[in-house]
Symmetry: D3
Subunit: 159 residues, 6 copies
């Protein structure tokens, strides 16, 4: 038609998954928030003014995973079958560890849902505790495992 | 009225900021994503199939900061004055560093907006690059500084 | 790994529906808002300043049903096939009755979508009429019937 | 310009609050969900499979109040100062009572935010308990009190 | 710190409005959808199967204006004072004209809110009528006028 | 039950697609924004202060398509397989042309997703450039083609 094409260098693309099979796919992600001993104790004793930190963070993590396609531009909307979020305490390092596992029957994996669930849960812990001390650090957010789909199994331990 | 109160142990509370002054408040947060050399090079050369990674991540970071009160249960909705997101490259450690600075005239600080902006930007980098390698790690997400409000100035360098 | 598990007492869980069959599922919910005679007359005569109450409430009810997984923490996102909302007038009791029927082909039922549709419709009636009189009462919101899925048929008349 | 105007009968209108003063405004709403004795006991003993019902419902109620302007078509977006949600148990009637109180400095009241908070909390209780018994009924949702603004004080006890 | 800066060429920026005065700002936008005579007649006679087209489109337009900061990446979230949407019919050209007027007390204008309101209303008209004929064309979406702020008054008639 | 039915004239209806087959469906839409020569040049030279206009608009267009069921009242939520957005420049007319193509495996078409993607992209171009000149006009938004479903193939060139 005689029009000039916009330079396609760097076009953002939402991967076309039309040709892929609908299969069962899962992903698990994990991350940590490093807190002061004072905060860790208050969290475990349910002594934080703003509420029951890990229960609120758990709800936020599950709801965050559901919001992934709204937050991450090139992510597909998926009808997830399950979202689990739970926590562990690393007393030695004074860290709270967040886990999120997601599953779906779909054409694309759920790694971003699991990672977003972990991130939202940890951000919520920060929010609930920041009145005590703002020097918390969120880190080690990574994909632990995934299964299903063409690239099959994946397992990664970051340390 | 003779009703039994639900055990208020652990009530989730959205802090009442009615009594606080409207002042100018800012916050800056930072975080990193560790990537393989292959990914770092592809990102810098704008050679990632899924698009111009850092521009997409920048847009996602700014939009993510705006979504903070939807994601973080006890966060207040704020009419932000500005949201800035930008990146630096740590070639030595093969990390991409995301910065997010937020400002508002309001009754409460914007630490969560800045942290959520950083997290969303880094999650987007992960999403854009994961087809190459899923072993990326997001970390060192922390509040760098904040000003304004009763608790005044804060400055924190995590390392 | 030697970490302490967070006390799982009260863990919030999004039910894992992976193993369930995709079947046709429907649900119908109903509820009422009790209004003054003055309001009821104004609604029926389309004489409310804020607009055509029942048409606006109908749109809000349908859109509210679609938002269910955003509002209800442990609800699954579903690709609904249909959402119907309509009203009846109980002149004797001076009530407006809202109905919402939802259907899907999925692994889980749509009771929450139907109930959320009814609730949003009734809240919208309240909002449209509150300038006249704030003493309206929303009630009798219940599931009327559901079909499909393992628990099969359900029918309930609340009075 | 010679165009035909669309029949303005029933135009939906978002009230223009430009001329109003910014003042402190609060509202409190309340509602109930009638449940079986089996459910009431399981809720109080934190014995519901889907989680800690009243904590999850509380988070949902607070987050629902924040979403009001998205759900109710003619509602204004507000930067709320506070949202409180809590529960009482009416053992005699086997009801769970939800309260929601909201405050803002703004040009318009927060009655809809309080009512939406109550509704979302009660819908969440229903969702968390429906696996046991679907015959729960949500009702008596009403505005208890409001203050601030031109219409001043309001107090209403529905029974 | 010895890091390489990401090439700031093309950084997306949300304009910093911190230094601006809070003033009263309004904007009006307009647009058209060209439809077949068959559709125009059905709309005016309220004979479209999918519902009362212009009332649904009006609600959608008002709700769309409220969603502007979610849709337009660099837009600020604002607490709008008013949103009005209404329609005119250009029988000669077989067009439906949508108008949207928005006002706020804020640090930035509401041109995008008015334009988004018009766009959402016209897209909704398309959706409601597309079963009859998909050859409708949305056009002439432009800012008619704005007032307030440093750039003051603006008035534009596109034809 | 002896209740009066609300006059169903103009009921808003979300089409019931339960009985339809799941098939592969695509749609392409297109639209234009007419800009001044000054703006066109600045966009092509990436010289707009607010950022890399067409990349930001592309991201916004893709994210806007994903939000369609939130914006358009009677639209169904769909799990899209792909969303593509790209631009062309009509130097002669000083227009920027936006294209959006969407595909899904579903029971209903994706015309609204494609049109919403185009509209959001063009609104974003307006937002990014409006500091230079507010007299831009968005137009010629139309469905170019669709395939799949009972109504089969459709192709439309608006001029």
């Amino acid at each position: 038609m005689g029009f000039t094409h916009f330079d396609e260098h760097g076009n953002a693309v939402m991967v076309d998954v039309s040709g892929k099979l609908v299969t069962s796919r899962t992903a698990e992600a994990r991350g940590r928030i490093h807190v002061s001993r004072e905060i860790l104790e208050a969290v475990l004793n349910r002594n934080i003014k703003k509420g029951d930190v890990l229960t609120v963070a758990q709800v936020a993590g599950i709801m965050g995973a559901k919001k992934t396609s709204e937050l991450i531009p090139m992510c597909h909307l998926l009808t997830l079958n399950s979202v689990k979020a739970y926590f562990e305490i690393d007393e030695e390092r004074s860290d709270i560890i967040a886990h999120c596992t997601v599953s779906v029957d779909g054409k694309t994996g759920v790694e971003m849902e699991a990672l977003t669930g972990v991130s939202t849960a940890l951000l919520t812990v920060y929010d609930m505790c920041k009145a005590i001390d703002k020097k918390m650090v969120i880190g080690d957010i990574h994909l632990v495992s995934k299964s299903g789909g063409k690239s099959g199994e994946f397992y990664y331990e970051s340390q």
